[in-house]
Structure formats: C-alpha cells, structure tokens
C-alpha cells in the first residue's frame, strides 16, 4: 500500500507541525486515513488528511490554513451518522472533533452545561445525573456519538415525545466560520430574541455552515421515577388510536415506541414473555416524572386499555423494565435475519397520519414484492422504514430503489418529511427537491453562500448536486 507522496499533503503536515500540532493529531498515511472516511452508511472515501484538533485555536489554525490553500473541510464527530453527513472527498480534510471532549462547566444554578463538541452524549448524561440533573435527548447511538454530531444533525430519540430533540436543548453556541473567524450565538437566558436566531440555524445544519466548538445545553431536574409498560394491539389503527387517547387523557409519556407485525415476528421467539398470536402492533410506553404522578398516570393507562389491548404488562422493577425493552433492542439484529441487506429510512409524519402511512407501505411492500419492516417512535411520528432485500440481486436492488422513491412520495403526500432524526447528508440529497420547492431551496442555498461563499465546508451535503 505504498502511495506516491502528495506534495500538498506534505506541505500542510510540515506547516501544522511547525504550528504546534503533534504527530498524534495528524492522520497521514493512506491506511490510517481510510479509517476517517466512513460512517454508518457503508461509504468510505479516504480524505487527503485527517486532523484531530485539541482546542478551538487549533480549529482556527486549520481553517486559516485551508482557506489559504483553498481546501475543503469536512467536520466529523464519532462518525456514526446514518446519512453520510461526515463523508469527505479525496481532496478534503477531515476535522475530527473527538479530542475536544471537555465538559467545561455545569452551571447548577441556571441548569446549563457548557461542553466541547467531542463530549460523548451518554457520558454527559452520566455526569449530570450524578448531580441530580437530566439531559434528555437519547439518540440510539448515545453511548458513542458526540454532542457536536447530535447538534449538527439535530438528533432525536425515543424521549422526543415529551422532551423534544437535541435542538430543543441548545441554548447557545460558539462556532468558527470557514475563514477561521469566530461567531457566538445564544446565551444562558431563557428568553432571548435579540436578532436572528443563529443557534437554531446552526442546529441541524450538518456541518455545512460552521464548525461548532462550544455548546450550551439546557438541563432538567432528573425525573424521580420511570414506569415502562408494553401494550399489544390487534391493529395499527387500534394502536394509533391508543396513542391519541393517551395524549387526550393527559397521560404524558416520555416515550411511545411501536413495532409492526414484521418486527414482532422477528423478535417474538427471543422475548421472555408470550405475545398473543393475533398481535399486530406493540407499543412500548414509558412515563417519567414525580413518583406520585407516574403512579397515577400508569393506573390511568391500565384503566384506559385493559379491555382494548390484547396484553398489557407494566414493569415492576428495573429487571422487568429491561425485559420489556428487549423487544425493541433485539429488533435490529433480528430483522437482519429477514434478508441480507436493508435500506433504512427515517421518515416522519404528523401523528394522525401514522395508520395511513403504515397501510400504504404495506401495499407498497406487496407491489414491489419485498418485505418492508416498520418500527420507531409512534409518539412523534418518526418511523424507521426498512426495505429488506438482497442487494447482490440486481432485480431486487432495482425494486429497492423504486421503493425508496415511493416511500418518500407517500411520506410527503401525507405532510411528512424525508428525515425525522438522521439528517439529509449525501444519502438523501437526491430527494431533497421532492420535499422543498425551488424558491425554498434557493433561499437555503443563499444562506449557505453567506456563510461559505466558496462551498468549501462539508460540500456535497443536503443540496442536490
């Protein structure tokens, strides 16, 4: 794997070493670089260089140098994204923020944490929970994904039903523009309406506008109690009505996950309890808050659905809670047994449209003759749609592509969106203009241009190329 020396790369490395970077912060060889060219989307493009700055001044140095040389910059967190948001180009520089992982302050009085972008979400949650505090956003990757990545993709998780997504907790940011200059937005104030809300603009911008170096996050008091229940229903419509009934009866779950019948069949045998044969949809409901409230809401849940649900189990302790969650946790590996590959989309629709979208996906599945497995967040309309196929079969691969197009059409017809939590990245950019009209896209592109006139910061993402 010897490769010819690249004079540009050598030049940059020499400069960075002279500017105080250590060798450990520079990923130079072809083999090592290839480990910074992927994320969870099975793409791999090794960059010209990968750099691991340890502080914001080093980020600035990199940006200034890249500006001088006219180089592209690709910010990267844990590289666990599901839409290719951090995939570089061969002539671009990966800036991995994983070494900037300090929790700078936990302001208990104002209940705000100030962190660097490389902090692991789960580790922040652990640290604040020791102080009786709570950072609710819970993307499935929280044990290894970074806050910076969560912010730039505006990641969400099951708890979004009650608490919202990452963006709902970002109070303020510090970030570097592509030319190496710094901007600050937001603050610790609950009410803050001075000027454009650049914080919200940078949240979910997928690293295309600036490199975030400091994040102010809102914290909550930790809930006193959590109660998990599993409900089985005869139909998706029945389950959807149940979700609606919960909300109308002032039951305020933090999480309402659902599994469709394909998902149920995939995990059924691995479960420590027996699901009735006629089960079509399972809901996993979690209620948290003050103990008394959690108890009364759980009783209400039981009263409401004891007749309608085929099965209703309420966990009595942590062990039982874990057993109920098994159904959800075992799902990903279990559905892998249905077919060798899956095309996985994370569409979101308004709550009322869930039964309709599921039934239309069922018809689509019959039409293209491939299983479509749906599960996800029934409480917020975010559905993980998995088209199961064998990509090595060209016919199946073609039908799969066709299915994706149709899934997006159905979603948009029902007032939904291409992505509930993964972002557009480069895997969905080709469909972006299905969702937004030319004027809207042009407006977004004008914003991009104001931040990054030469299109050097994470190019090739979000917008169709």
């Amino acid at each position: 794997m010897t490769e010819p020396t690249n004079p540009l790369r050598t030049q940059i490395v020499t400069r960075l070493l002279a500017l105080g970077f250590s060798k450990e912060q520079i990923v130079e060889t072809k083999a090592a670089r290839s480990c910074y060219g992927y994320d969870a989307t099975r793409q791999n493009i090794e960059p010209l260089l990968a750099l691991l700055p340890e502080n914001e001044l080093q980020v600035k140095t990199i940006l200034k140098l890249a500006t001088e040389k006219g180089l592209k910059i690709f910010p990267r967190g844990a590289g666990s994204g599901m839409s290719g948001g951090s995939i570089p180009s061969h002539d671009g520089i990966i800036v991995s923020l994983t070494k900037m992982k300090r929790i700078l302050e936990i302001d208990e009085e104002n209940m705000i944490a100030t962190v660097e972008p490389g902090v692991i979400t789960g580790e922040l949650q652990e640290v604040v929970s020791r102080l009786g505090l709570f950072y609710p956003p819970d993307p499935a990757s929280l044990a290894f994904s970074t806050i910076g990545g969560n912010v730039t993709e505006n990641a969400g998780g099951p708890r979004a039903v009650k608490y919202g997504v990452t963006g709902n907790f970002v109070m303020g940011l510090e970030a570097y523009l592509v030319n190496g200059e710094k901007i600050k937005c937001g603050n610790k104030c609950i009410k803050s309406v001075s000027g454009y809300d650049l914080t919200s603009l940078l949240v979910g911008s997928e690293g295309t506008l600036a490199i975030i170096t400091k994040i102010l996050l809102k914290l909550l008091p930790a809930p006193e109690a959590v109660k998990t229940s599993l409900l089985a229903f005869k139909s998706m419509t029945g389950a959807a009505h149940a979700v609606n009934a919960m909300l109308k009866h002032q039951i305020n779950p933090s999480t309402i996950e659902f599994l469709d019948h394909h998902s149920i069949n995939a995990v059924r045998s691995a479960l420590p309890f027996t699901l009735p044969d006629e089960t079509d949809t399972v809901l996993l409901v979690e209620i948290d808050g003050p103990k008394a409230l959690v108890e009364s809401q759980s009783l209400k849940l039981n009263e409401l659905f004891k007749d309608e649900a085929l099965l209703l189990i309420a966990a009595r302790d942590e062990n039982e809670r874990e057993q109920l969650w098994l159904a959800r946790r075992k799902l990903s590996p279990a559905i892998a047994n249905i077919a060798p590959h899956k095309i996985n989309e994370d569409i979101a629709v308004p709550l009322g449209a869930i039964p309709e979208v599921i039934s239309r996906l069922e018809s689509l599945s019959q039409e293209i003759n491939l299983p479509i497995v749906c599960f996800g967040h029934a409480g917020d309309g975010n559905i993980h749609v998995n088209v199961m196929l064998d990509k090595n079969d060209p016919d199946q691969a073609e039908r799969g592509q066709k299915a994706i197009n149709k899934i997006f059409s159905i979603t948009l017809e029902l007032g939904g969106t291409l992505s509930g939590e993964h972002g557009i990245g480069n895997t969905k950019s080709a469909y972006f203009d299905k969702e937004w009209g030319p004027v809207t896209i042009a407006t977004m592109q004008a914003i991009k241009k104001a931040f990054d006139p030469d299109n050097r910061l994470n190019p090739g993402k979000i917008f169709p190329t």
Binding site: M1, V27, Y38, A40, F144
Partner: protein
C-alpha cells in the same frame, strides 16, 4: 477458534461501521484514534488483508487489541471481532514472523512445559537479587535498572514451589466424586495458592480434584498472538488428556482465560463440560450455603469482572452470588466493574503506557468503593490489579474469590 478464511471475509462484511464498539473499547478510550477501535481495525483488515506488504498503521492497529471481547459483546451484528484479530495476527506472523521472544516462549510452552517449570523455579531462587518485595503486596519491584523493563513494573513474587510440587504431598480422597481441575499456567507457576484453595473448596463440596500433570497451556496466549500452529498443538495435547479422562465429565478451572479458551475448543469429548469455579459452586449452592453457615468476611470487598469470564463466557451472576454469600453487605459493586483492567495477556507487558492508563481508571474505581479487597476470578487480572494498587498507592489487595472462600471455610 476454527474460523476459515472464507468466514473471515463474511465476518468482515457483517460490520456496518455503526460505531457501537467505540463505546466500550478500552484502547479507543485512551487513544481516541479511529484505527484503534474495532470498526477501524476491521476496515484496515478488510482493505489490506490480501496485500503482502502490511503498512505500519495496519500492524499497529492489529497489535493494539486486548482481546477483551468488549466490542464483540456490544456488537449488534455479532461480528466475531476477536477471531478476526487473531486471524490477522496469524496473517502477520506468516508474512513477518512471530516476535522472537514470543517464539521462544511458545516453543517452551509447546514442547516442554515442565522445563518452563524449571525456568520459573530458577527465577524464584534468583529473583531476590534483582527485585525487592513490596510491603503488603504479593509483588516485587526491581532493585536496579534493567534494560527493557519499565522501572515501575511489578512482577509477582515467584513461588519456590509450583502447584505440581505442592500437590506431591497431597493425600488423594478417592471416595469423593472425581472432577478434573485445569489449573492453567498462571495458577500453576505464579499463584499456586489459588490452586490449593480451589482444591480445598472442591473437597469440602465432595469433589476429588484430579490434576493431570500433562495438562498444557490452554493456548489462549498463542491464539492471541496469531501462532495458529502452536495453538493447534496445545489444544491437541490438552484434548488428549481430556479424552484419556473422558469418564470424568466436569472440568473446572479458576482462570477466566483458560475457561474461555477451553470452552471454545472443537472436538471436546462428548458430554465434557468446562466450568468456571463460580459456575460449579453456584450449581451446588445449597450445599455451599450450609458449609458457609453464618460465617462472614468482615472486610469490605468489591469485584472486577475478568473480560474472559464476563464477556468471554457470560459469567457475571455466579461470582456475585458467591461474594454476597461470603461477604453479605460487605460486598460493594464498583463503578464499571465490567471495564477491562488493561492486562490483556501479554499486552500489559508490551504496551505499558496504554495499559497503565486503562489500569488507572480501574484502580480509581476500586479506590472509590473503599474496599479492602478487590476480587477477580482471573490470575492475570489479579496480577495487573496488584501492580495497579502499588502504582496508585491503594490500600486494597487483589485476591481470587476462591481464596476468600477457602479462608472462610478454614476459619472456625
């Protein structure tokens, strides 16, 4: 341990680069380098494995693995990562050859384990010239500067008599039910007392421990180093002993790594069952509860999960049941008991710096419990923890749970 090149290809394809391994890899935790975590290593192995010339990044990545199985346990796709690493190391030894020190040591293991015993014994006689005993610890630090050995390395005080010697005077108890005891090299040569304690406990439970001298190294260390052929020979010689004793169905060990290795053997005799000592004790819990009675350890103790027991064999409940039985409320869980201690067979010797960083987090977690004894069902972990206690000036000692149980049963 039988994976063929074809299945390696298939295993590599299973990895979807989700990144879950990053959450648990001790090496990634310290280095923060993508090449050092399982998915990065797999990426390198996938793109370069058929290449004769291995780039330094490849060798470094494949070398930096504790084989702790943490990533494997946390992998939703069930990728057999440690098998891939072992296969990659084998690939590397075929191209570059085995490190000469390991080569010599493995030759000794394979052909003349009893000569190895003599080497260790000679060492035990001479060790006092070079090393000095540490107060309160069963370890030694060196007296003078020695080339190639970190001044802070703590080595176990080599016993004058190994387990084989100590067992010469043992009175057999043929009326008891026979059970095979696989002591493993670390217990046999470095910590024979653990072996004696284990045999004593077995006798109390009604078992006569059979300890064939012909048992060889379990092979874990050669497998981990990519020395496939030595590993095969070691397995064959142990299988011969097992087959010669095939009338005894249960084989017990007090070493997490040996248990993990033995359980992975192909062609174990029919009905042969490999058990960690904690699993065996748990099976006979009613009898043990009677034997222990109301006696209880009065010192505070905590427990470190050996990787090859918890992740390798999924044995986590049984040691805890045992510790609760003998210590009651004096048993306290540490934070992250499942995190690797950084020993990883010979990794701790060859990669001192990273190993020490991993160990530091472990000893901090031990210290935080206020425990006087840190237990672990693995002689390798006990060695590493002992070194950790010296380095971090902690007041606890590392012991095998079986030692505490034996002491309790011997007490009045």
């Amino acid at each position: 341990m039988t994976i063929t090149p074809l299945t390696i290809e298939e295993e590599l394809k299973k990895c979807v680069k989700c990144g879950a391994c990053m959450a648990v890899c001790p090496i990634y935790r310290q280095t923060g380098r993508e090449e050092m975590v399982a998915r990065g290593k797999l990426n390198l192995i996938e793109i370069i494995r058929n290449n004769e010339e291995l780039p330094p990044a490849w060798i470094e990545a494949v070398d930096h693995c504790l084989l702790c199985c943490s990533c494997e346990e946390n992998c939703s796709k069930g990728v057999k990562i440690t098998e891939i690493i072992a296969a990659a190391r084998n690939h590397q030894t075929e191209i570059i050859g085995l490190n000469p020190i390991k080569k010599g040591a493995f030759a000794l293991l394979k052909n003349r384990i009893l000569s190895l015993a003599r080497v260790v014994k000679l060492g035990s006689l001479l060790q006092w010239l070079l090393w000095q005993k540490l107060p309160n610890h069963s370890g030694l630090v060196r007296r003078f500067t020695l080339p190639g050995i970190d001044s802070k390395t703590v080595i176990p005080a080599l016993p004058l008599k190994n387990l084989d010697d100590l067992l010469k005077r043992r009175q057999p108890v043929p009326e008891l039910q026979p059970i095979l005891f696989f002591s493993g090299c670390a217990t046999r040569f470095l910590h024979p007392q653990i072996g004696l304690d284990l045999i004593f406990v077995l006798e109390q439970l009604g078992f006569n421990a059979i300890t064939p001298k012909k048992f060889n190294c379990c092979g874990m260390v050669t497998w981990g180093a990519g020395d496939k052929s030595t590993n095969r020979e070691l397995q064959a010689s142990n299988l011969k002993v097992l087959n010669d004793n095939a009338h005894i169905k249960e084989v017990v060990t007090g070493c997490a790594s040996c248990g993990h290795a033995l359980k992975e053997y192909d062609n174990l005799p029919e009905d042969c069952e490999i058990l960690d000592i904690s699993e065996l004790l748990f099976r006979h819990r009613e009898k043990l509860e009677q034997l222990v009675g109301s006696r209880q350890i009065t010192q505070k103790i905590t427990y470190h999960d050996p990787c090859h027991l918890s992740k390798g064999q999924e044995v986590t409940k049984e040691p805890r049941w045992l510790l609760k039985l003998i210590a009651g409320d004096n048993f306290i869980e540490m934070r992250h008991p499942e995190r690797c201690c950084g020993a990883g067979g010979t990794f701790g010797l060859t990669h001192k710096e990273i190993s020490r960083e991993i160990l530091k987090e472990k000893t901090d977690d031990c210290d935080a419990t206020g425990a006087e004894i840190v237990t672990s069902g693995c002689p390798g972990c006990i060695l590493q923890l002992t070194e950790g206690a010296v380095v971090s000036k902690s007041s606890w000692q590392a012991e095998h749970p079986i030692t505490l149980l034996a002491e309790l049963l011997r007490s009045k």
